[in-house]
Amino acid sequence: MSRTGVFVCHCGSNIAGALDVERVAAAAGKLPGVRYAASYKYMCSEQGQQLVKDAIAEHELDRIVIASCSPRMHENTFRKLLKDTPVNPYMLEIANIREQCAWVHADREQATEKAVDLVRMAVAKVAKNKPLHSSFIPVHKKALVIGAGIAGIQAALDIADAGYEVTLLEKESSIGGHMVMLDKTFPTLDCSACISTPKMSEVAAHPNITLMTGSTVESVGGYVGNFDVAIRQKARYVNHDICTGCGLCETKCPAKVTSEFNQALCTRTAVFRPFPQAVPAKPVIDPESCRKLIGKAKCGVCQAVCPLGAIDFEDKDKLITDTYGAIVVATGYELVDWAPLYPEYGGGKYSDVITGLQYERLVNASGPTEGKILRPSDKSVPKDVVIVKCVGSRDKKKGRAYCSRACCMYSAKHAHQILEKIPGARVTVFYMDVRTPGKNYEEFYDRAREDGARYVRGRVAKIFRENGKLICRGEDTLLGRGVEVPADMVILETAMTPAQDIRELCAKLTISTDEYGWVQEAHPKLRPVETQTAGVYLAGACQGPKDIPDTVAQAGAAAAKVCILFSKNEIEGSPMISAVDENKCCGCSACVRVCPYRAVMLEEIDSRELSGAVKRQVARVNAGLCQGCGACAASCRTGAIDLLGFTNAQILKEVDALCL
């Protein structure tokens, strides 16, 4: 007969405040197999855990039920606790009487009754628990970082500095992401290039980092410690081993295409480097715009002019597979395509209505206007500038409901730069709230106002051109009166959205995204840089709108998580995996078919059957691959294969207990 101990947690007043914990403990005491039942203010505290240890010793308990918060919170805490007691850590069940009972039912009587039911179910289940021992999985100490913006670069550098090998993937032809597009960064106004280009060159030179630009993830298999990843490196048509980056081909190429890096403010050639400080500092050929590759014309002038013959039009995509122990997703953000969403702001037909990133390229010394703020339409210096915030953000109907977090700060930066670089300029900022939640952020906002930026509280309803001016129609809600501000140039601070192909990547990594496509972290507060899939971590804006300080902090955190994983030669696999009772298995391979990880295979075994020794097929589970989903257990008619920790017997008992 099992000797069960039941411990009901008050969780301060969270549980005790909503249901009668004493009655639950009393009811638990009377359940069959329960030797000891008690309740305590904080079961997860030091004293609470000591209470369990003492009770185990005193009453020779062999299995434990904790009625407390969700197992997702403290199942591991109590498992670790049991490690130094004679009770096996898996002889434990947790009844969730907080998130799914105390907090969600107003009626105290009903909540208490439900808590008693949940405890009875847990006790019935734990009666069927068996001691489980974990298996160990080897760890390949090599990391894959997807996305080489500041998040990816920082994560790769930290992992590499810890002495582990890193492969850094970037889908564009140069690393640097969005940060390298910026001119200055808040709140210290230090120049973005000065703090990001050194890191970029450090990445290129680091012995532990293999840099692969123009590359994306084709497929991901395996599991933590043993991800076999196929990477597709797009054809570059330029042999980077020979090329020295002299740039002669770029000067000769006839093709003219809008430059994505410069936010379509100017054009680039088909053989190009996105920006002068690009890393790798060697050009690639864009197949969609190269006349020879499209087959429009013979051309090939770059090949003819290249002194080292580095141009190779026959180059093909390369598919490289490798095994990685951990993966860091650092795919960053993109700005929302505001034009179709906001026809009232001109819908993109006014070239002087630009986005924040377009402004950054204008004010950037290596940008198309060498840092002089000239409005795109007639390249004149704009005197009256209007900045419109929350374009696409905080807009349930047209854009996204969330706040993009960084625009309040960089719009103050934009205002400051304009007032500093254009004497006599007038800057009006239409805002709803100015959110300055960081160190020295509020002071930075004060400076922008001191510089003379006029902050008008009210959302712009319409931007239209009249007599050569862009009229921004808003309401100063503090005065309660409508206002029309004429402007030479308007900067829209548009919403951040996840990178374009994030959903396909997440499907490959079996991690999920929220409705907008932001990668879902394991727990918003407790595990912000981890995902549901063990071994897959995340850093930066791919998880949600973020500014550079938070991004770099997360990159460091993700790198730390990877180093924790790599600090051990093997990791303890969860023991809650499937196991086969070979006597019952008739080899019908129903389980083999449903396993998502191909962790179950048929194997031939010697067996004694009626007429003597025979060979027959039975299912076998590969402990390393099995992730414990239980699809096989549900597909097996005879119950030969079962999921340890959630066996048929356990669940049947749990169902019966509910209905007593």
């Binding site: 709803m432 319409k462 009166r481």
Partner: protein, 185 residues
């Protein structure tokens, strides 16, 4: 300006919001409706402030305002509102509640609407001449738009004939029934 008294007419505010099918807490007072409103320049309170008054349970001040009568119900505000607050419906219901206690801060608008509906009740159709004439008399600005009358007469734009609906009795009966229904809610 006297101190604000919140919730001095909270029940009326909730009724107006409920009839309009609007959740007042959706509005975070961003001002995009007032910004886009063509009539906002001549309004005593801004459209955003109308919602603010309802949020604070001060519907009494709203139904006494000129704003609800000057609204041209062009729906510019609801189409651009980031939180889909149906402001025209709020204003419409504010007008119904004002009319129930015979309030009309812009009497000309009230008179124009009454004459228009009288016309429709009598003839089943709006009669331009009677509408213009009666309105000028009742509102006191006798010569309004009189300058263009000769031009309209010469080109037969307006004339003496009355165009009436044959079953105008049905229209009258229908409208009185609808009026009683409107009083009820």
């Amino acid at each position: 300006m006297a101190q604000l008294q919140f919730d001095n007419s909270a029940v009326l505010a909730e009724k107006i919001a409920a009839d309009a099918g609007v959740t007042l807490s959706d509005c975070y007072q961003c001002g995009k409706c007032s910004a886009g409103c063509p009539m906002s320049a001549s309004m005593d309170i801004q459209p955003r402030q109308a919602v603010r008054l309802l949020q604070l349970g001060m519907a009494d001040e709203l139904i006494r305002s000129r704003m609800i009568w000057l609204c041209a119900s062009c729906h510019m505000c609801v189409d651009r509102c980031p939180n889909d607050v149906d402001l025209p419906a709020l204003i419409e219901n504010a007008r119904y509640q004002a009319q129930r206690i015979k309030l009309c801060a812009v009497p000309e608008v009230g008179k124009f609407n009454d004459i228009f509906m009288e016309n429709v009740k009598n003839f089943g159709k709006s009669q331009e001449v009677i509408l213009e004439g009666a309105y000028n008399l009742l509102s006191g600005n006798l010569l309004q738009d009189m300058g263009s009358v000769p031009h309209m007469l010469r080109h037969g734009i307006i004339g003496p004939e009355i165009r009436a609906v044959r079953e105008r009795e049905h229209v009258r009966r229908m409208l009185t029934e609808a009026e009683r229904e409107d009083e009820g809610c």
